[in-house]
């Protein structure tokens, strides 16, 4: 496949995942559609191009670890895991329904492929640091990737873990910030400013790169360079749009909470059509 062909395939997969997420969220009358959409492209790229994982050996000691620290984006991750064969796709239709194990926040010990229980903010990175230290202690070559929401940079535990990762020179650890610029109620700018975000992480002795989190070519360019600086943990600030992919959902924080109604569903279905 040509390079453009490869990118086109990723774009199609991301659309299909957004379609499935829409149906899961509408069917369960669930929340967090915009959080999933902001991370879909990053997740597709990681699972298709980066992570060394085998759905038939989900606990292989040498597998790469991916932690969805922004665990409320789990509907997208479940969809990708099912597509990869970690569990049957029909399970997706139980998402957030009575008795389902597909809980609305990333939760370990239910379906294979979910590495840690997260979603309480600021938990994923410390766990990732422990895994990256384990890789070094065990002299294994697996890598650890943690996707955090920008709002998680409010949490003290994130910065504790940032100190720990650089102290232990964990260049096998990569944190990706889904930088959609919204948090629970208002924008990050209006609530608790994070800028200059890259400088903060650099000051914590991390190697930092900045990309467009919806552009697969930019992802390719940056992820292929890991580790960005040997001996330093990697931070990739991915600029994203919350609700990306459906015009009426984009950059509006209400879709952190609301379920799309008939009008929005119709628009979404049109815009997510694969031409």
């Amino acid at each position: 496949m040509t390079k453009q062909g490869s990118v086109d395939a990723l774009i199609i997969e991301a659309k299909e995942i957004r379609q499935k997420v829409l149906s899961m969220i509408v069917s369960a009358h669930a929340s967090h559609i915009a959080s999933s959409y902001s991370a879909v492209d990053l997740l597709v790229y990681l699972y298709e191009k980066i992570l060394n994982i085998d759905p038939h050996k989900p606990l292989s000691l040498d597998r790469d670890r991916f932690i969805l620290s922004k665990g409320w984006g789990i509907s997208a991750l479940y969809t990708i895991l099912a597509r990869k064969g970690f569990f049957p796709a029909k399970l997706l239709d139980t998402y957030c329904k009575d008795g389902s194990e597909l809980i609305g926040i990333a939760t370990r010990n239910h379906v294979p492929g979910v590495e840690a229980t997260t979603g309480s903010m600021g938990h994923g990175l410390p766990i990732g640091v422990g895994m990256a230290i384990a890789a070094k202690l065990q002299k294994r070559t697996f890598r650890v990737f943690v996707l955090i929401g920008d709002g998680e940079c409010d949490e003290g535990s994130t910065w504790e873990a940032a100190l720990l990762a650089s102290h232990h020179e964990l260049d096998n650890l990569t944190v990706i910030i889904d930088n959609n610029k919204w948090q629970g109620w208002r924008s990050i700018h209006d609530t608790l400013k994070l800028e200059p975000l890259a400088d903060k992480w650099r000051a914590f002795n991390w190697a930092v790169a900045q990309i467009n989190g919806h552009n697969f070519s930019e992802m390719e360019k940056t992820f292929s360079q890991l580790p960005l600086t040997p001996g330093k943990p990697n931070l990739i600030i991915a600029s994203t749009v919350k609700g990306k992919g459906v015009s009426v959902l984009e950059d509006k924080n209400e879709w952190h909470y609301k379920t799309p109604t008939i009008t929005e569903i119709a628009i979404a279905e049109t815009e997510l059509k694969i031409l």
């Binding site: 000691l61 670890r65 939760t107 370990r108 010990n109 590495e115 840690a116 229980t117 309480s120 600021g122 938990h123 990175l125 410390p126 766990i127 990732g128 640091v129 422990g130 895994m131 990256a132 230290i133 384990a134 890789a135 202690l137 065990q138 003290g156 535990s157 504790e160 873990a161 100190l163 720990l164 102290h167």
Partner: protein, 305 residues
């Protein structure tokens, strides 16, 4: 207790290469030997209790058994959510070791007193809670915690706690250790007040009272059948602990007695529902809270009257 713990952990680390010790900047004059022997398997993570528990969880999720060591107030309360979710919910091999519990850090006030730790740890599903009362019980609890493939909490006091048991402890997790037989009053003690409870029992027995004394080194699980058997037909049951009467041994025993419908009177001797807003020696603070040998004796005599 701390030294016994460090020695026992060192022995376990000698035998089991998967064990890692993580400490949040605690262990001065306790862990130096361990650090020297195992520089890579001993991680001082600095004053980062929340992230340290997450890090410990990450290690455990990668095949290690982790002992996380910090002062009890900070090992349980500062990072309660990480203990509950990262360790408890994931149900993984992280042992939380809370040192200097109760009023061990007697001069340092409410910030450093840990009198709620057992209650908090008891509430977390999957968590086994050990409250050893002397160095022998510490060695026992450390071995048992290693054997469990899941979360555990061990409550330690400071160094210099007297030896009560001669020889090794040989009970299962959840079993009480019979210290004195007697069919009139049953005293249950957990943790640091074990030596005082032994003296007290001797005194009461000397006065002609028939007193059974049990040490309770595991608060959870607590073998309720065995407890009910021991207290059935006993008119008076007393619990003693250097912990809030809410959530610890007193609560656990009250719950079992109430649910089983055992007809007995219960006296819970522990720290009442109040902050201890003064400083002084540990003995002074225990007396202030009614837990000195003299005040324990007075409370029990009044209760049995």
């Amino acid at each position: 207790m701390r030294t016994t713990f460090a020695n026992t952990l060192t022995q376990l680390m000698d035998e089991h290469p998967e064990i890692i010790c993580v400490t949040a900047d605690m262990g001065f004059s306790v862990f130096e030997g361990l650090q020297e022997t195992y520089p890579k398997r001993f991680l001082n993570t600095g004053v980062t209790e929340q992230s340290s528990v997450g890090l410990a969880a990450g290690l455990a999720l990668s095949g290690h058994k982790v002992f996380f060591y910090a002062q009890a107030a900070f090992a349980t309360m500062r990072c309660f959510e990480q203990v509950r979710l990262d360790v408890g919910y994931n149900n993984i091999d992280v042992k939380i070791i809370g040192t200097a519990a109760g009023f061990s850090l007697n001069q340092l006030g409410a910030s450093h007193f840990a009198i709620e730790d057992v209650g908090l740890m008891r509430m977390i599903p999957n968590m086994t809670v050990f409250t050893p009362g002397d160095p022998a019980e510490v060695a026992w609890a450390t071995h048992k915690a290693y054997e469990i493939n899941g979360p555990a909490y061990i409550r330690l006091m400071k160094s210099g706690t007297p030896i009560v048991h001669n020889g090794k402890i040989n009970v299962k997790i959840g079993e009480m250790i019979p210290m004195t037989q007697g069919k009139g009053t049953c005293i249950l003690v957990s943790g640091s007040l074990l030596p005082q409870a032994v003296e007290l029992t001797e005194k009461l027995t000397g006065e002609g009272l028939r007193v059974a004394l049990f040490s309770v080194p595991t608060i959870k699980p607590l073998n309720s059948k065995a407890l009910i058997k021991e207290i059935s037909g006993i008119p008076s049951v007393i619990t003693i602990e250097e912990h809030s009467v809410i959530g610890g041994l007193g609560s656990a025993v009250a719950e079992i007695i109430a649910e089983a419908g055992v007809k007995t009177k219960l006296l819970r001797l522990g720290i009442q529902d109040q902050f201890t807003s003064i400083t002084g020696s540990q003995e002074y603070l225990l007396d202030y809270n009614g837990l000195s040998p003299k005040k324990l004796y007075q409370s029990i005599k009044k209760f049995l009257r």
